[in-house]
Amino acid sequence: MTRIVRFWSLLGITAFLLLPWYMVQGGFWTFGWVTDPGGTGASAALHVASGRIWLLGPALGLLGAVLATVLPLSQAARARAWLVCGVAGLALLIGQALLILGTGPRLAALGDAAQPGMGAGAFVVSVSLLFVMTTGISALGRGRGDAFVTGLVGLIVALVAVFVFYPMAFIFVQAFELRGGAGFGLSEFVPRFFSPQTWSLGCVTGSGTCGAAFNSLMLGILTGLGTTLLGLSFALIFTRTDFRAKRLLRALTILPIITPPFVIGLALILLFGRSGSITEFAHWAFGMEKTRWLYGFWGVWLAQMLSFTPIAFLVLIGVVEGISPSMEEASQTLDANRWQTFRRVSLPLMRPGLANAFLLGFIESLADFGNPLVLGGNFNVLSTEIYFAIVGTVADPAKAAILSMTLLAMTLAAFVLQRMWLGRKSYATVTGKADNGQNAALNPGLKWACYLTALPWAAFTLMIYVLIAFGSFVKLWGYDHSFTLQHYKQAFGIVVRNGVHFVGAAWDSYVSTLTIAAISAPLTAAVGLATAYLLVRQRFTGKNVFEFSTMLSFAIPGTVIGVAYVMAFNFPPIELTGTALILVLVFIFRNMPVGVRGGIAAMSQLDKSLDEASIMLGANSFTTLRRVILPLLGPAILAAVTYSFVRAITSVSAVIFLVSARHNLATNFIVGRVENNEFGIAIAYSVVLIVTMLAAILALQAVIGHRRLRRSDRVAA
């Protein structure tokens, strides 16, 4: 432990002396600061010498920790000294960062001190202080005296605090701030929060339009209900009938993962818009009037149904498969017929799964941004209102913050409800014992009801995707259906003249999307799996709070995270807007739940005694993780990396506020084309993205399949 503390505190002191404390123009990795040690590249030590005396605090913490490693102290006293030094250093560092901003200090007593955003030096010093503190905690015997575990807990807590809770706090600050910097209060918040613009029920009472909050709520409920019912239909067909094309159904579940936002909305426009194919056909065949019905509630709902039904399907497959066949067999031996068995045994056992699917659909619908943006028309929902409050002609951050709180309140309520409902009851029917019964087949009425709802829907979904591919190759949908490659040329043109030139308009955003997704994917998986490891495998004080707070971040809609990041990271102490780093960060913390969920599922399969055996054989937690857990989790890790990668590519709601001219992203590029009605190029780009992501997923499956092969080869040898 002494060695660990000495390493970190010396590293921190080195950073304090040598690395530039503040953000460097042009980025750290260009190393421009090396040649400018007196200016922007100045280390904290130089700043202290030139009057920024408050930067000395963190260094004192590190010095104290080093001193404690050499002084003749008892083990316990040394541990306490480390803890105190780490806490004090961090407190001083955070304190100065929050008090002295770019524009000047918050307290008049500090004079006119000002400082830019923190940079590499501050980062390394913070991390060093954090690990000095956590090592001190472990030396006090917490976390079974394991410095790696306490360090990991500390690191994850710090990351979640800085990159989830700190920005979220800004939403609250912004919401309660009074105009003209007059401090904080409820006097403006309350009327705006309950403004009729948000909550109006006009469309129900017949006096105009409804507020965004009400719209979101209704849409969420109807989408939740619809996706759950359809998902159940699909799941029943998949598990309880002898339907032939089950593999095709299974392929449906992969679609929402690889579908960029807007794609479904665009396809619906191509079909049902004013000049859409079906609209034209209905007009021609039945003389039906061409209307703009698609642009509003029903259009958004239809798009969400198409987008989220596969998610409900995926959830419900697990639930329906999880019902032990012996339950149904028992019911049948008690002389219940198939309908009675389904109605009285299977369905009640599915209840938590149905609730889960509903709430998931509800949360997804509330958080959905792409579909309402494309199809909403005058139908306002919270997520688009928030967007327009930030990027609209009149930027109104306070409104965005207040609407974000409304949206957050709804998703959190749904989330808490879900946890409460699932927490109370246990419906687990599959035990560790082998269970070789057969699931009861559906009775014919139910079977046909499922066939008639689900199969047309599957055909419809399939048609949408075929259409997208088709639509990218026609000149102008609805008017000129001649074949063309012009959209692809425009987006991804390559000219070979004196070298290769990527002249297509989309190349920049495509490359930066893939780059940023590729950087953030392994980091997302690492943070997610580390969190899962702590949740499944370790016990520590405050674990329940830790678990709840990581789970909470599942429920924060992307738009809200995006707004929070803009508000929090636009000025010192952490000034990141306009950098690629903020995009990487938002992807990591937005997609962390994917890694956590995957990690928890995979790690729960591994017997805990494997870790304990490794520990007992003299390996520390880190070695155990590296040599036992990670190799056994191989496929799960690959899956987490791939899904984080794919989700980063399709993400739009969180990043739309954060992209910059230098770091534009694919989804943002598509939004721009959609807003200019350049549907062809938007669709062509989407097709390229779908192919890219499909390739990533297929590569993943090939690798995982290959691994399994190799192991069985070894068995045969």
Binding site: G141, M616, R627
Partner: protein, 350 residues
């Protein structure tokens, strides 16, 4: 304190409100095999995991080899463990499993390999090194787990119900092997089981636990011959526990069972209401009354080849007896008389 000893000084373990272990003091002598025995939930596994360092004590001090290890992580304790599930790493071969503890300690690969081979030889698995654990039988996996634990030459070897996944026949064989290896290497071993026969068979000393504390500790012989409580008497070998009362004092002490006074041979400090401990094989049955015998009726008889088990109902409750097979066995409904030798009886407090 010498190498290999284990000492608990008032060690307690609590999970929030739940007490898993009441303050416990115990000493395990070096080179002995000590068994923690008790029904499930009695605290025996918690005690083992405290020695291992897989749990940290809520209070008290733990010493291994005389050194305070209370706050030392499991990684750095010179203690190995054989797990109930064996916990062999499924992605490593048998040899890699056995060498794992050596390689994480940065031992050169070649030396680790030869040590692992020696370990496998000791458990009789030479030549199995290249296999995966899943290709071995349960008994072989168990021996790999033992080899993996002992190649580290631990001060203390912990065994957590090591035989519970083996079938009954194999169990006796493996427990003898474990005992032989432990004695050959002079290891201190702590062995957790809920099977009293297994405990009797392997232990130098048994610590019987109940309700998160020690009920009684001693050699197998001590526990069987001098049970300190009705619980121990019943738990270590079957016993009939018959309500009785001690009458008189000094040399004239007698014991009254169901209104009849019996001779009391053993010395005892107990007085008043007690329980009489009678082992099933110490019960004699006869068709005709004997001196001081108790009338009873056969309610169940089971023929088990080398002996017959009888359950009898009597005024003093149900009596369980084991007798060698007779020419004409007793049958259900027979009215018999139960008697015993005065020197066989043991007394415990009620």
């Amino acid at each position: 304190m010498t190498k290999g000893s284990v000492r608990f000084e008032n060690v307690a373990k609590r999970y929030g409100e739940v007490t898993a272990l009441k303050p416990l003091t115990l000493d395990i002598a070096p080179g002995t095999l000590c068994t923690l025995l008790g029904p499930s939930g009695c605290g025996k596994t918690t005690t083992l995991r405290l020695i291992a360092g897989l749990e940290s004590a809520s209070e008290g001090r733990i010493l291994i080899g005389g050194e305070d290890v209370t706050n030392l992580s499991a990684t750095y304790r010179r203690v190995s463990m054989v797990f109930q599930s064996y916990a062999l790493f499924p992605h490593m071969t048998v040899a890699e499993n056995v060498a794992y503890g050596l390689t994480v300690k940065r031992m050169p690969r070649r030396e680790a390999q030869s040590r692992a081979e020696a370990g496998l030889e000791m458990v009789g698995l030479t030549g199995f090194g290249d296999r995966l654990p899943s290709e071995l039988s349960g008994g072989q996996q168990q021996r790999v787990a033992v080899a993996r634990a002992i190649v580290l030459e631990p001060e203390v070897l912990l065994l957590d119900e090591p035989l519970s996944n083996l079938d009954a026949k194999l169990r006796r064989h493996v427990r003898e092997e474990i005992r032989q290896i432990q004695q050959r290497l002079g290891l201190t071993a702590v062995y957790v089981t809920h099977d009293q026969e297994e405990a009797m068979a392997v232990s130098d000393r048994i610590i019987v636990m109940k309700n998160a504390e020690i009920a009684q500790a001693g050699t197998p012989h001590d526990l069987y011959e001098r049970p300190a409580s009705a619980f121990i008497a019943d738990f270590i070998g079957d016993a009939n526990l018959i309500d009785a009362e001690i009458i008189g004092s000094g040399q004239t002490k007698r014991i009254r069972v169901d209104g009849i006074d019996h001779k009391l041979v053993m010395q005892t400090t107990l007085t008043g209401a007690v329980k009489l401990v009678l082992r099933p094989h110490q019960i004699a049955l006869s068709a005709t009354p004997r001196t001081d015998s108790i009338p009873a009726e056969v309610s169940y008889a089971a023929y088990l080849g080398n002996h017959i088990q009888y359950s009898l109902t009597s005024n003093v409750g149900e009596i369980f007896a084991i007798l060698p097979p007779l020419e004409t066995p007793f049958r259900r409904g027979d009215n018999l008389f139960v008697s015993w030798r005065s020197e066989d009886i043991r007394l415990v407090s009620q």
